[in-house]
């Protein structure tokens, strides 16, 4: 095996020396075919033609090593083969640059199991940076998906974008200036997202319609919203078992430059929200200076008020769902997933947030907060009470917790619930702002046990 792979690489260097920029050692200082035991191809830095030919003719289970340099891409790098590992020489050394691309394409566009991308930057993709769809076994490691222009609504939508995939690891990576979500895990199962940095995006890190996700050690800074978890209506993967822990979520006060879509209504200065979500743990995170507020727990009815649009035929649902107690839809054979329920918020640290709610957000959430708090800080954790049969602004005993929302043990963390569906600019219903331990929201564990560790193969 050892000999064969060297043969492949050296033949390439020998015969195509006029085509490749160079095959010298300097181009492969970090990674080379000597490091891997599978079939392997080395491509000189900037040699777009060989890269594209390789991607379109490659055999399964091949490692493609890209040399240092800038690849001036005019079209998507498209992978439709299983077992492809695409490895550069480092975020600052190997760049797939789409700045001059005119085709309406994603940067790296993958469908193929056992895909790995590592040690490179994808810059200025016309659409999404790195999109991996319908794949089982996906690794993003030490990569950067970014756009050069700050706050530009023509930037691509998603930077790092695994979707409809299983067994996904995103680590030690960066996502910057995406016009929707920088790091977006959508419709996936069994996911670890750790030690990444997301900045300058509308939504920094988004976990959407995803089951079994562990999100830890990430830094979300200077986005419109830091780290968010939600389900959208109509999707047969009902989100569950999501753990946000040990992340830093600070100064997410970036202007909302989304051209449209769900994220366009997110207030500037949002730390985290969980919406239409269940079995979520938000623990041991550090929140700081998010101007609208740190954590909001919201019903999906906030963005789609028509319950019929949340109906899902049970026969179509993915994964395990019948232990979740999802409410039945009006149509026979359906459930709905707009409720947020069974959530624990504990052990977080809150400093300096909620001092300047966004008055321009189209949902007028910021206006409600200003009318309620004036110049005082917004409470650290807000709960909309949608679906609770009883609400009272002052009497704890007159509030219910049917949704099993558990809040407590946070440093500098306060709590308030509100009767969101009754609020209007002319009739602000006072919030329920209990002192710790926030009864009846003083539970501390999820029904059904804690979110289990995500184990990847």
């Amino acid at each position: 095996m050892m000999n064969r792979r060297f043969v492949v690489a050296s033949i390439l260097c020998g015969l195509t020396v006029g085509v490749l920029a160079a095959c010298g050692e300097d181009e492969f200082p970090t990674n080379s075919c000597a490091d891997v035991s599978t079939t392997c191809v080395q491509i000189g830095g900037g040699d777009v033609t060989t890269l594209q030919t390789t991607a379109n003719t490659v055999e399964p289970n091949t490692t493609i090593i890209l040399g240092a340099g800038r690849f001036a891409m005019t079209n998507s790098l498209t992978i439709r083969t299983a077992g492809i590992h695409l490895i550069g020489q480092g975020i600052d050394r190997t760049t797939l640059d789409y700045g001059e691309a005119t085709a309406q394409v994603n940067g790296v566009d993958v469908q193929g199991d056992d895909f790995l991308v590592q040690d490179l930057t994808v810059l200025d993709a016309p659409k999404d940076g790195i999109r991996v769809e319908d794949s089982d076994g996906v690794v993003f490691r030490r990569i950067r998906a970014a756009w050069t222009e700050i706050s530009d609504s023509t930037n691509g939508a998603y930077g790092i974008y695994p979707v409809k995939s299983q067994h996904v690891l995103v680590e030690d990576s960066r996502a910057e200036n995406a016009s929707d979500a920088g790091l977006y895990v959508g419709q996936c199962q069994h996911v670890i997202v750790r030690n990444n940095v997301v900045t300058g995006n509308v939504a920094g890190l988004e976990i959407e319609n995803t089951q079994y996700a562990d999100v830890y050690g990430n830094l979300a800074e200077d986005n419109t919203a830091g780290i968010v978890v939600f389900d959208l209506p109509g999707n047969p993967i009902v989100g569950r078992d999501v753990r946000l822990r040990d992340n830093i979520i600070r100064r997410n006060n970036h202007i909302n430059f989304a051209p449209g879509g769900t994220v366009a209504v997110i207030p500037v200065g949002t730390g985290t929200f969980a919406m239409a979500s269940r079995r979520v743990e938000i623990t041991n995170n550090t929140y700081e200076a998010n101007d609208t507020g740190d954590i909001a727990l919201l019903s999906g009815l906030v963005v789609e008020s028509d319950e019929a649009r949340w109906e899902l035929a049970t026969a179509t649902l993915a994964g395990t769902w019948n232990d979740l107690g999802l409410g039945a839809g009006a149509t026979a054979g359906t459930i709905t997933n707009f409720r947020s329920e069974n959530i624990v918020v504990a052990g977080n640290t809150h400093t300096g947030s909620g001092l300047h709610p966004d008055l321009a957000d189209p949902m007028m959430f910021g206006v409600l907060l200003i009318l309620t708090y004036a110049t005082n800080p917004v409470d650290s954790v807000l709960y909309d009470s949608i679906g609770e049969p009883m609400f009272h602004s002052t009497d704890a005993a007159m509030n219910t917790n049917d949704n099993h929302i558990c809040v407590g043990g946070n440093t500098g963390g306060t709590f308030a619930s509100m009767k969101l569906e009754d609020q209007s600019a002319s009739n602000v219903v006072p919030f329920f702002r209990p002192a710790a331990p926030f009864a009846p929201y003083n539970c501390s564990t999820l029904t059904g046990g804690p979110v289990a560790e995500v184990v990847l193969p």
Partner: protein
């Protein structure tokens, strides 16, 4: 040593350098077509011996045994105004069975070919024509495989080009306007963007042809010589390429777009606008926007010719996840109001990130946009508020 990525690369590199790989003897139309379904695609298009091309006289298809049939479509996929010349090859002794709805199933060893060319001035579309690429779909035992070829500068032959190319092409359109296309020769892996289809909702996608369907083929073609102008389905039957077809007069036909291309929507009766627009959407959109499509399924917008569900056709329907593709509008079709309909916006815009189809268009198709605009404008108005 078995074929490896390294060897494939070397061959591609050699070809790119203009090295003679032994296949340069050129086309000889006295010999039969060559298709090897036990081998990867040939390096040079001439090796298939399918047709000869001369800028002065145009295309001459291989006449041996009459197994190559040129054809045209009633309405065609718009590709930045590229001129297209299509043909089908069915190996001797085999036929394709007629299907009233789906693409015909071609036998192993068949080839569907499409040439893409640009005229310098589309007011004189047969003069100063440059051939850009030829796309082959080759029927292997395990299914269709795409093989893209790019023509060299001398226009003498085309070279296998799995990597594709993006090329700026300038021309004068039929209205005398200077246009420049950022023309995309798709890379091999992008072929399935349009050609992948699920046989059933739960099945894996497979490659399928798009145009080789009864309704698109049911039109006349000028075969020249002694044959002259004949219906294409009838001709395919006469040649023995097609089996089991009823008389073409009894087969439904897609709407012939040609009068619209030449004279605009005004050139057809108002009563025909619906049929014409549905045929245009069928050929341009329904390979994805179909219940068995792959790329378009999440939109739940179905634009096939046979969709009778007005909501799924877009009437007052909110888009799936259109992101920046909405143009700020709320519904796919607002009946009576094309200028606030997402469907019209995406089909007409030249904004990267919002254009439909996803691939193959960088310019707006003036006549196609005009047709869809007229179609939506003629619908009984509905503001989609749900109020009667």
């Amino acid at each position: 040593m078995r074929t490896s990525p390294g060897l494939a690369l070397m061959a591609a590199a050699a070809a790119a350098c203009g090295g003679d790989d032994g296949g340069g003897d050129g086309v000889d139309l006295s010999r039969p077509v060559v298709v090897d379904v036990d081998a990867p695609p040939f390096e040079r298009l001439s090796q298939y011996n399918l047709f000869a091309w001369d800028p002065a006289t145009g295309f001459t298809f291989n006449p041996v045994d009459d197994r190559v049939a040129a054809y045209d479509l009633n309405a065609q996929l718009f590709s930045d105004y590229a001129l297209k010349q299509r043909a089908i090859y069915v190996p001797p002794g085999a036929t394709m069975p007629f299907d009233p709805e789906l693409a015909f199933e071609l036998p192993v060893g068949s080839v569907i070919l499409k040439n893409f060319a640009f005229a310098a001035d589309f007011r004189a579309p047969t003069q100063d024509v440059t051939l850009i690429e030829t796309r082959l779909l080759i029927r292997y035992a395990d299914g269709w495989r795409p093989a893209p070829y790019i023509w060299d500068e001398t226009q003498a032959d085309a070279v296998y080009a799995p990597a594709g190319e993006v090329r700026a092409i300038s021309f004068v359109d039929d209205a005398g306007q200077a246009r420049t296309s950022n023309y995309l020769v798709p890379q091999r892996n992008q072929c399935e963007t349009c050609h992948a289809r699920k046989p059933s909702a739960d099945a894996d996608p497979e490659m399928v042809p798009i145009g080789v369907k009864a309704r698109h083929l049911n039109r006349t073609y000028d075969y020249g010589g002694a044959v002259g102008v004949v219906n294409q389905l009838d001709r395919l039957t006469t040649l023995g390429l097609l089996a089991g077809a009823p008389p073409s007069a009894s087969v439904p036909a897609a709407y012939d777009f040609r009068p619209i291309e030449q004279g605009g929507v005004a050139a057809i009766p108002p009563a025909d606008v619906d049929a014409a627009a549905r045929s245009y959407l069928d050929i341009n959109c329904a390979h994805c926007h179909d219940p068995n499509g792959v790329q378009g399924i999440t939109s739940q917008l179905f634009l096939g010719h046979d969709n009778t569900d007005l909501f799924r056709l877009g009437y007052c329907k909110r888009p799936g996840s259109a992101g920046p593709g909405t143009g700020g509008f709320e519904f796919d079709i607002v009946p009576g109001s094309p200028d606030t309909s997402i469907l019209y916006f995406r089909l007409h815009t030249e904004d990267v990130g919002a254009m439909m189809p996803l691939l193959g268009r960088s310019l707006s198709h003036t006549r196609g946009s005009e047709l869809v605009h007229a179609w939506i404008a003629a619908m009984p108005p509905d503001d989609c508020t749900g109020q009667p």
